[in-house]
Symmetry: C2
Subunit: 231 residues, 2 copies
């Protein structure tokens, strides 16, 4: 037993270090493919499923319904991403709803299948564990945002994250993505549509975003810089 | 390729089903033991460590420091629980701080060790994956709370959760735990100490909690019922 290890025990490490994460996709055999139309429910209160899904194409919106009926958007997942990991817990998660945000092709495995495959391909479980750690990290950052940031800053962070995840670069240096409704953004940052509309107008006047009915363009660099200043 | 699977494909399952989760402890060999005094920093901005820790005895408080310097308490972990899982990502997490909330004895493994052990004991990785899924689920519930609940309700939920995790039963049906300061609760639910004091006084007048400098007693059943009504 080492007593009072102090500052240098356990070993202090230099960050960031390059860590090669496992890719769960490299270790998963093919499974049944499902097609969903835009707007179709994949799972929800009326059809809970015990599946972990991989998105082959399209986008999927995952939300929760709060006790007061208010929907909260957890995230939008895209091709090569997983969702439905609460299946690993085998608990009732009928409060989670997954909907195809655009036509989507999915592959699904039951949690039992994943665990059985992991016994012979442990790197699958290691990869999924790292993936879960990554999701946890993002959720923690969102909790920190809810505790410490203004709604404007939370909205700015959400726009940057969605642009970086779902968008494409334009020649003027902005990142464009399909339009997210103000209602969608409100359900993501936890406020009313009216407040999102107010904040979006402000961001537009300040030149950080441009938007139409079809697309949003985010000037990611300048918006990031302005959020750092806002501290 | 199955088209438009509709309501009954993938298989709809009946919840709750009993799912046996893997216990990572059953698959982890012993490692170095470290002793910490109350208040001692285990890792933080000045001493980042790439370790996953298991608590053998004592309690550990994990917080994040927001960009504006505000601390947010992520959780308090107790004996037989893990913390430090962001080590699995190998990224800079110097914003996370772990402090011994009381004298604590810990065992630590580097993320590389955990991954190496998992190759021969895949159930370790499966157990840690399930653990991460559980943590994610709790974080998501907290995000839902931030979006949909009043501060009073978030405080009530936090008291119930801490009492159930860290407390012991009393003969009058309440659950007692060591006192949590109003500042601690404020840093957990994301508000000011003054508002926590106001809400705690209200909960005390309503008979849901009693507290002194040393302990808090929570009447978990009645408090839960009142939070359900508050919808």
């Amino acid at each position: 037993v080492k007593e009072n290890p102090g500052m240098n025990s356990p070993t202090v490490v230099a960050f960031p270090r390059q860590k090669q994460l496992e890719d769960p996709l490299a270790h998963l055999p093919c499974s049944t493919i499902y097609d969903y139309k835009k707007g179709q429910v994949i799972y929800g209160q009326d059809n809970p499923v015990d599946n972990i899904f991989l998105i082959l194409s399209g986008k999927v919106k995952v939300s929760r319904i709060a006790a007061n009926g208010r929907p909260i958007i957890i995230d939008v997942y895209r091709a090569d991403e997983f969702f439905g990991e609460s299946a690993f817990l085998g608990v009732d998660c009928r409060r989670e709803v997954a909907v195809a945000a655009e036509p989507a092709q999915l592959m699904g495995w039951s949690s039992d299948e994943i665990e059985r495959i992991s016994l012979t391909r442990p790197k699958l479980a290691i990869g999924l564990m790292q993936l879960q750690a990554q999701r946890s990290e993002e959720f923690v950052q969102r909790i920190v945002g809810f505790s410490a940031d203004t709604i404007g800053k939370r909205l700015g962070s959400a726009l940057i994250r969605f642009a970086e995840r779902l968008g494409w670069s334009l020649s003027d240096g902005s990142t464009e993505m399909s339009a997210l409704t103000h209602q969608f953004l409100a359900e993501h940052v936890g406020t009313s549509r009216e407040i999102v509309t107010h904040c979006m107008n402000q961001l537009r006047r300040q030149g950080y975003v441009r938007y139409s009915r079809k697309t949003i363009q985010v000037y990611v660099g300048p918006l990031k810089a302005s959020l750092l200043e806002e501290v």
